[in-house]
Symmetry: C2
Subunit: 337 residues, 2 copies
Amino acid sequence: MMTAVESSGRRRVTLDDVAQRAGVHKSTVSRALRSASSDPRVARIREVAEELGWTPDLIAAGLRNQQMRSIGVLVPRLTDVVLATIFEGIDDTLSQQGWQAVVVSTWDEPEVQRRRARLLLGHRVDGLIVADARDDEPYMVDIAGRGVPVLLVNRSYPGFVSVTCDDELGGRLAAEHLVGLGHTRLGVVAGMPYAVSLSNRVRGFRAAARERGVEVSDDLVVPSTIYPSAGREAGTRLLDLPDPPTAFFVVNDAAAIGLLGLLRERGLTPGVDVSVVGFNDIPEAAELHVPLTTVRNPMREMGALAANEALRMISGQPVTSRTLRPELVVRASTGPR
Amino acid sequence: MMTAVESSGRRRVTLDDVAQRAGVHKSTVSRALRSASSDPRVARIREVAEELGWTPDLIAAGLRNQQMRSIGVLVPRLTDVVLATIFEGIDDTLSQQGWQAVVVSTWDEPEVQRRRARLLLGHRVDGLIVADARDDEPYMVDIAGRGVPVLLVNRSYPGFVSVTCDDELGGRLAAEHLVGLGHTRLGVVAGMPYAVSLSNRVRGFRAAARERGVEVSDDLVVPSTIYPSAGREAGTRLLDLPDPPTAFFVVNDAAAIGLLGLLRERGLTPGVDVSVVGFNDIPEAAELHVPLTTVRNPMREMGALAANEALRMISGQPVTSRTLRPELVVRASTGPR
DNA sequence: TCCTGTCGTGCAATCGATTGCGCGCAATCG
DNA sequence: CGATTGCGCGCAATCGATTGCACGACAGGA
């Protein structure tokens, strides 16, 4: 004979099943299961629930309570270790507090962003954490005022509360370092123009360089994606200039790694012939043949803080934007001119 | 005056709202919205729904239909690019078919695995894709027979349908390559013993080596984690043996990268003094100073196939385990003895 | 003219957990 | 011993979409 637990493909155990077995009404069971009381009757009901293998149906409870205890998270893509790390911070924080993160990839494509955001709202998430805001296609604007709080992380946008790295400061740290080493011809691999996090890094870099008497002209600032291949391509363009830079600021480490590969092929030694500063300090930056000087971005903390702020928003508490402090990590890929 | 769409924080628009505005019953609206008809009355109802900004409540629909069109995915961690890539394949495939993936990280910890699996079931996912099966703590066994189909990916387990790489073959390819280059003293950085994917690679490697007359003794097989630091530590142990190996098989690329760092520090040139074969072919393997010879694991395809097989299981169709063919990618980190 | 078949619509039940309301029982006090 | 307070429990409504059933209208054929 099969017990209820062993049989497969059977109907879900509901509160009513427990109630019947315990000889009480389902409302009594519901109350018993969430009371802290140690009343013997309550204990008996708990026992029956356990025996029958009852587990709460979060969908039914969510419908009734108008609260799913879940937050939707939109990221460009999870195979980017930067976004994966931010999400890990979010997921960890939420799950520790009994909440569920529901993540979707949008590939930075506005149409996908809109579609998947709508879908998340259909799943009645209680809030949205947006890590893929574009300043040319701010889909979050349509979502806001839908009754669901929206928090930005990683990239900011006017009118929204956000949790970001102080990207401008990060850019400044890179510029100060390179100018301090005596470099005066600075190239920038600038990333996607629609990502404010990246353009802020470039802005900070150029401003700090100029303040120290080094002008970074527009032709030394090359847009790119965030992949190693993009670092190679942008690097090629810059190295092939009549008067190529002696130092590079690459707005993300993956592209910087591509640039390092290009330099190697051209017989240039990073840190000796040419300097390179990356951004984020992803784990492999330290493992490279020539370890990468980079700006550490507190990605995990950013995710954790974003999750907490989102919970605060949902519970109706006031929240304000926060920026986290980046830090320069000097390694072997930079050296004196 | 605010329109319904502009006002914020307001109540959700329900079918009943649309029905009242259109002067019909909500059941009529429900039918109209999902019929393909171009009847003018149907068109009118659609128009009203659009105007009021109605969006389906997937929670309510899920409760009524006993089907959420979502699949829970359990992974060790998403910051591991291997798992992130597998998940990307799953997510992409599911979302293209109108399904939602809900992913959770379990850190390979049995207690977390159990807790989060239960939580996913509480969310009424229609199936589970398990990427973090441990052969010493098979939590999936408790979950199976809960009325929800379970599919394994990445790591297999007896009695479960799985989609995996042919890891044993991958190990064989590595061994054939190294023995073919004349190496007879082979070291193995073996990964976690509880992960069958990894131990299968080691088994295939040792079997193929033995078939070619090279015995890999137990003291040359060192357990590890999958991080670069673990590659360094395991490598240190092997290099400090009285008769150290001249070639290494490292069951995953991240650890192989750590081993390459160690070799560099010891003044050994990979591909010349010592050979190293990794596993997975993650993107950075090709970008290294000494590009890594490795066994390509079709991770994204694995995820996509797993998603499709899971959908098949859910729809009640028969499914069988599938293995995908790995491929040796020879680069500069291996060379003749 | 009446009957039958078809189509569209309204009604009400359903999914499972939660909760306000009210009833009945027991305990305590005057 | 009767009245009042308090507590526990059952009842039924609720959340929002879906769907079987039944009824009414209308058309076509006998």
